[in-house]
Symmetry: C2
Subunit: 419 residues, 2 copies
């Protein structure tokens, strides 16, 4: 039996041109994990008739309905009132909730505005779901074989009320088997190349949806899932993951919340090496990603952004003759930048990046997207890669940062194997 | 008369945990501009019964329904079939569309797969809306006083078909008055401060919705709109904008698509000055933003990311005595970084940034979020600002980049006034 659910987000602000409902992504993941599939979701303005029609239709589509938003204190907040009207139930003021509301305001040194009192009104027969992060509690109502869950709109409150109030209710008889997701991350291979590498794996494991997503320039993700209890599904996902890892090889760098900069950071921290970066076309983006990681000061010493040729020479010691002979975007300059920044910043590893991000500056020999990445280490190791990247300025720059991080990672991994 | 619309996005991939329907944001803006308000939107899996129920309900809620997705060649693509079934109309194969499809494939050196032939099936009585960017044309069907528009799912195709096929149809009698939006951008003031400054303005101009959004750390946006023809609304928006500008003052830096780094770049390019950056806690993020702008090499020479103290001294010439006496996160060090990077990189302006981004490294005197930004120019100008920023590492870092860019902008504006 697959159970199904419908999600409804209430609020005119969700029908404008800037905001999307992201609460439904969280709810979908949580519901899938306990075997409930979301078959539709909607956003509706806070008009009374619109709200009633939408609630009423949603209940015809799935036995579980999660509603977010419209539980606040203002006149536009009428989700609770609409559900009560639809079910023909009364709203009853709950003195205990009212008291807690007043106390909440008092703790912040304010008196409760009278409009907030309506947040203490409970739909007859509903279970009140406490909200530790805000004033609006959630509600769970069962009627005519359907379950309606009302959740506050602010994401932190919605997540808290769902985890603490709704999930325990939906899993009363023990956690049912559900859909458990896993994400593997790949750097430096295109979508179609990853597809080719992993096809034999997912063809051997029929029944698993595998999605390949190009999430950022230079990075591709493999999304897959397994059904079952967390234990069963986890075991299956481990088998799939192992097979994907051997199919994709070293380009597969991480899983779920891991980032490329985080993985590189862990390897650097473990190696005891120190890093300096010399960037031209990426203009500091590689350093930004490295320093996104808390604790990166343990291995990252610093870097130079050398946009003008004169500072490539003066700050990094790139030979003016090399610049003259090969141009700023060349293997030779990238190599001298890597070694130069390593020496000037006194580190064991240096990386140099130079390229043409566009939109201008391309030539026939060196079109926009031409990038050179080089690595130089104190032990004499040298690496170099030339790329011709597709896309616009932002895409070329972002892709180059991933290529630079991937080079550091690749070198550290090989070095580790030699030890 | 306010006309209303409903939007439906079809596709099981929109009911997962990663993708949201963003097509509806574009459609909402386009419809608002011609006086049509979107009152609801929904996403539905591609099951036949689900699709029929959803289409049928949507038509009860508004006279215009825009459907995106489900026009592709696969078995899961059944939007057209469902609309035909709902209206009791036939699907008729159109030989001209079929021919164009075959030619499209031929131009790419491939034969058309037979499954694609169904993309040439037209709902009886529908207007075919050509798609220059993909294989699936759009359709416009009128029935029982309702208008149903079917658009392909890929955003570029959806936008093209809407602009070229739907908009001309909806505005046949001339562009009706609609809602026209404008965005103003503010740096360095909090949401509540902006609210306080602009309240007198929007209270004086009743009838305009004004929304204040904190879109990124350190940056706040004012969204507002006016109704009317493009000319009328534009005039009203200009009046509002002028009043907002004088209420907010110089912190208001841009409008609509303008970015802070773009505005700073334009000012720098116009001034003939050159810039170098010295960054510690932001780790290259200020340089990243400066170099996001195409053509930034005209004024940006380069920068140093000096994470370790020793490179603050060796690369920038910050005095070890200053570092010892005041610590790396201090006004004195920020000032020496700014002047040092200016001298070492040979520019007319230098900016230095040092701070504690966290999560570790805070003390009682210098809590996490403490940041110093300084500017030094060849004409002897000096600026310094100390901030104590809220939020996590990412937020402190991002906010600091905006503060640094705002300092450059503020100094350039004052300098311009003195000239």
């Amino acid at each position: 039996m697959t159970r199904t659910a419908s999600i409804l987000a209430v609020g005119s602000e969700l029908l404008g041109t800037t905001r999307v409902d992201t609460n439904s992504l969280f709810l979908t993941g949580e519901l899938e994990a306990i075997g409930i599939r979301v078959v539709r979701k909607a956003c509706v303005v806070d008009g009374w008739d619109d709200l009633l029609a939408e609630l009423s239709f949603a209940l015809t589509r799935a036995p579980l309905l999660c509603v977010t938003g419209g539980l606040g204190p203002t006149e536009d907040d009428r989700t609770k009132e609409a559900v009560a009207a639809l079910l023909g139930r009364k709203l009853i003021r709950d003195e205990e909730i009212l008291q807690r509301l007043r106390e909440r305001f008092q703790r912040r040194g304010r008196e409760m505005p009278e409009v907030n009192a309506k947040q203490a009104d409970v739909i007859e027969g509903a279970v009140v779901l406490p909200n530790r992060r805000g004033t609006a509690p959630g509600y769970l109502v069962e009627a005519e074989g359907k379950t309606i869950v009302l959740l506050p709109g602010p994401p932190a409150e919605m997540k808290g009320v769902f985890a603490e109030g709704v999930l325990p209710h939906l899993t009363r008889g023990g956690a049912p088997p559900g859909l458990h997701r896993r994400v593997l991350k790949v750097v430096g291979l295109g979508e179609s190349m990853v597809e080719e590498l992993v096809r034999p794996v997912y063809e051997a494991h029929r029944g698993h949806d595998v999605t390949i997503l190009a999430v950022a320039p230079g990075e591709v993700q493999l999304h897959f899932a397994a059904r079952g209890t967390p234990g069963e599904a986890g075991g299956e996902l481990d088998v799939l993951e192992a097979d994907f890892r051997s199919a994709v090889g070293p380009a597969l760098f991480g899983r779920d919340d891991e980032t490329l900069e985080g993985v590189v950071g862990t390897l650097l921290a473990g190696s005891g090496l120190t890093l300096a970066l010399a960037e031209s076309c990426t203009g500091g983006m590689v350093a930004s990603r490295i320093t996104d990681v808390a604790g990166s000061s343990a291995y990252f010493v610093g870097g130079a952004v050398t946009y003008a040729n004169v500072v490539k020479s003066e700050i990094l010691g790139v030979s003016p003759a090399t610049l003259e002979a090969h141009g700023a975007v060349s293997e030779e300059v990238a190599r001298e930048m890597a070694e130069g920044v390593r020496l000037r910043f006194g580190t064991t590893v240096g990386v140099g990046v130079t390229g043409i991000a566009g939109p201008g500056g391309g030539t026939e020999d060196k079109p926009v997207g031409t990038v050179h990445v080089a690595l130089a280490a104190a032990d004499g190791s040298r690496r170099h890669e030339r790329l011709v990247l597709p896309g616009d300025r932002a895409m070329v720059r972002r892709w180059t940062t991933s290529a630079a991080l991937a080079m550091i990672r690749g070198w550290l991994l090989e070095r580790g194997e030699l030890d």
